[in-house]
Every structure is written in structure tokens, then in C-alpha cells.
Subunit: 262 residues, 2 copies
DNA sequence: CAGTGGTCTAGACCACTCC
DNA sequence: GAGTGGTCTAGACCACTGG
């Protein structure tokens, strides 16, 4: 493999000897390896939770040194796409892990330390509708295309805390029904990843404070006008493709949204 | 330098030959280097904005290979303590940089793209008071110890957007006066770092939605009861020492709090 | 025990910055 | 051109996991 822009012939090329003619732009070898591994993840060659080939094996396959593969994997691990486990191997990240849950669930109960927060879910709706203009734009589809809308309430310790509207590209989630949602225990993202091959990798949120309307107040058992956290989340899968839009209202009477700036 | 727990004799020790007797716990060499560099930052040997010695020089000084120094610096750069600049050197991070501002300023105007947001500040108070119990506990000082309290309003485009109460350990900020605050242009954190040797490295925030009280509503020019974002931020300096507590109210009528989950 | 990732070294050359 | 960080290689040994 040689230093180059985008295509990736499998020929080996020692670091020193540059190709005779000047090529336009070069990207480092380990970046190319990174892209190749990402492609393997995206294509489903290695599924969430599965092990990927060892560093040595990948080094042989790609015709580079183990150190170069290592640097590629290091970055993918830093981006939470892979997880290294010493003595065992490198695995594809999955939402089926206790540890990962708090990456996307930021609401914390007020009572300081590690409370075991048992959470109940109640699904209010799960149906297919035509995307409104703004939902379509955000998800990168055409206005009028079908989207799957899920409405739900989350309760922590019996108290309603989150009211959420979730929009998914209908095409990617064929067969997702209210009954399927009810039956599944665990995070939605785990269900999406296991049953529909869509893994959420990162997300962007826009957070505001809003006054509760009549309906919302009733659902969350708060007085009308109560200040609520409005969280609009756009989630991306491999390759920065937007696949889910959430509009949530959080009751922060007994919980707060935890954030780390670093 | 050899693989060991905490103290760091400057003797060189090739990787293979372990010290004869089993020692209790070993930390990797690059972690020890990392700690040494951090100590240099903390002690002020290298100040924000300044350059630190080259990798080669540090390798000689610490008696390790350049690769080991590199790995230590890599991690410190990932933690935003250092910044690498190819061809120039490695520098201590500083708040005197356009690029860094958005790491701690999360409020974004609604009008989508890169608007130039000119921001005005108005200081309402800057005085020394005795710490209340909860402020003292959060800052890790004794109740009744003196703290510096700063109250201010931030306006973006003339519109009041943030009302903030800031608490600092009085001892670390001797000589900080209202007049000094008024005179200084730029982020507070830049002032703290230049004039008082305290650099904010990371922070934790607790975010809630609250209804505006009479006073707050008047200050932010919103109706009483208006939903506001309540942001409590605890900032840490080198060595995870808490040094600043902020309690802010954000008006999110025309701005939102941007967050990235990754 | 074999196999994995984790650490460390030594040395090469490249890309960039500044004088 | 000298000096910096950035990439890449090859090889060694360590620490951990599992059969």
C-alpha cells in the first residue's frame, strides 16, 4: 500500500521511496487503513459486538506494518467505533453494554451518587407518516417521504421524566412495530443495531428551555407553563449519515442534564 | 527511567530487563512522562501560549526514547493541555485563541451558519463575600472562607442572553476588581490565565430548565415565568482542582445550547 | 500455552516552518 | 538549511486472556 489520495492498490511501498512523479494530494497510510476498516464496519463485514481481525493479521492483509494498523485502530477506538481489550482482541462497539448507556443518556437523578435508576418506557405511538419539510431536511430525505414516528414517555422511579418524539427513515426500519418496541427490553439504539443494522455513532443536540403546553404538562404531570428542557437530537450512523431525529422534553424537577466540557 | 509506580529516578532502563525484585505496581513509562510534563505545566515552568522543549530534547532529559515522549504528548494534546504545530513545536494551550472559545461558550444564535456574534458584557457586581455552605463544598474550601463573586450579563447583538453568577476562590484572585474586569477585553478565562496563573482545563455542567423569577426576568428582558436554561458549571484547573463555580441563566428564545455526543 | 493488545526502542524519511 | 513534528517500519518484550 502506498501513500496516496483515495484509491488503494494493495501494493506495498516502503516509506522512503516515493513514487517517481508528484501526485496531487497524499493522505497518510494509517488514514487509508482507517477508512478501510470503517468501510468494513459500514458494510457489515464486522458487526457490533463482534471481534475484528488481529492487528498482525490486518497488517498482513493491508501490506503495512503493525504499528500503522495500530495507529488506525487507536483513532477508531478514540471515536468509540472500536473497543480494544487487552489479551482478547479488538471489538466493534455496541450499545449492548452497561458502560456505554450514559454516553447518550444524559439525565441524572438529583440524589448525588450511583443510584440504580430503573427506567420504564411507555410507547404512545408508532406509525408511518409523511415527513414534514423540516424533518425531511434534517434527515436528508425528500419532503413527503415516509418516516417512522415513535412517541414515548420515559419514567424513572415511577415519575414521568421524558416525553419524546422520534423520527426514523422508514426505509431503514421496515418491520418495526409498536409490539416489537414493547417486547424489547433495553435501549432503543441497541434494538436498532441488532435488528435493523443501523448503529448510532454520534449525535448533535440543540438544547433550549421551553414552557410546557397543556398536553405536554399533562403527560409529564407538571403544571402548565412549567419550564422544561427541550432537546433536539440528530443522530448519525457510520459515514456521518443522519438517521434519527429526536425531539424530547425533559422534566428537570428531580433530574439534571449532565455535560462535560473538555 | 524505569517502569515504576510513582517516584522517578532518572536512570535509563531498557524495556526488556525488569528490575530483579517484583515491585508492587507499575505504571507505563509514557504515563510517568505525562505526569512529569503536567507537573511542569502546573508549576508554571511552561506558561500558556509558550513553547515546550522539543520531543528529542525531552527524550534526552527524561532518558527515554522519542517515541515514548511522543505518546505522552499525544495524550496531553488529546486532553487539550498541549497543542502540536508541525514544523514549529509543541505549545501550551491557552484561552487566547479564537478557535478555543467555542469549547466553553456553547450558546449559538438560531440563524444557522457562522454568524459573527459580537458579544457585550456588563458587570453588575464584583465583591468578596463569605462562601455559603454549598458553594464552599463545591469549590472544596471551608464554609465561611472568602470567595470572589462576580455577577454579569452577556448580550449578543444588544439582546441580553446570559445572566451569570461566578464564584472564585478569593485567595487565587487577589487584585481582581470590577475596574480590571471592565478594562479587559476577551474571555474571562483568558484573563484568569494571563493575570492570575489559573488555567481552566475542563468543566462539568448540570443543566436544568427553570422559570424566570421577577428579578431574573427583568434583567434578561423576558416575561416572568419564562423558561430559562439553568447552567451550573464547575471548572477545574490542572490536577483536577476545582477553582470556579458558575451559575448561569440562559435565554434560549433566539439561541440554543449546542452539544455534541460522541 | 499460544495469541492478543500494550509498551518501548531505534532509526529512517517526509512535511512543514522559519531564518 | 536546520529544526520541528508527522509517518512508517522492524523488532523486542510485557501483561493479559483463554483454552
Amino acid at each position: 500500500m502506498q501513500r496516496m489520495a483515495s484509491p488503494l492498490p494493495p501494493s506495498h511501498q516502503p516509506a522512503g521511496s516515493a513514487a517517481g512523479n508528484a501526485a496531487p494530494v497524499f493522505s497518510p497510510l494509517y488514514q487509508q487503513i482507517k477508512a478501510l476498516i470503517t468501510r468494513g464496519l459500514q458494510s457489515g463485514e464486522w458487526k457490533p459486538g463482534e471481534i475484528i481481525p488481529s492487528e498482525a493479521e490486518l497488517a498482513v492483509r493491508f501490506g503495512v506494518s503493525q504499528g500503522t494498523v495500530r495507529k488506525a485502530i487507536d483513532e477508531l477506538a478514540a471515536e468509540n467505533l472500536l473497543i480494544r481489550r487487552q489479551g482478547r482482541g479488538t471489538f466493534v462497539s455496541t450499545h449492548h453494554e452497561e458502560q456505554v448507556k450514559f454516553r447518550f443518556l444524559r439525565l441524572v437523578p438529583d440524589g448525588e451518587p450511583g443510584q440504580t435508576l430503573r427506567m420504564e418506557r411507555q410507547f404512545l405511538a408508532c406509525h408511518r407518516i409523511r415527513a414534514t419539510a423540516d424533518v425531511a431536511r434534517t434527515l436528508g430525505i425528500k419532503p413527503g417521504d415516509m418516516v417512522l414516528e415513535i412517541r414515548r414517555i420515559l419514567r424513572m422511579g415511577g415519575e414521568p421524566v421524558v416525553y419524546e418524539d422520534i423520527y426514523l427513515q422508514s426505509a431503514s426500519f421496515r418491520g418495526l412495530t409498536a409490539e416489537r418496541l414493547e417486547r424489547y427490553q433495553g435501549p432503543l439504539y441497541a434494538l436498532f443495531e441488532s435488528e435493523f443494522g443501523t448503529r448510532m455513532v454520534r449525535a448533535e443536540e440543540k438544547i433550549r428551555a421551553v414552557n410546557a403546553g397543556e398536553q405536554e404538562a399533562e403527560l409529564l404531570k407538571v403544571p402548565a407553563g412549567q419550564a422544561l428542557l427541550s432537546v433536539e437530537r440528530l443522530s448519525f450512523s457510520y459515514g456521518d449519515q443522519p438517521v434519527e431525529l429526536r425531539r424530547g422534553l425533559y422534566s428537570t424537577a428531580h433530574h439534571y442534564y449532565r455535560n462535560a466540557l473538555s
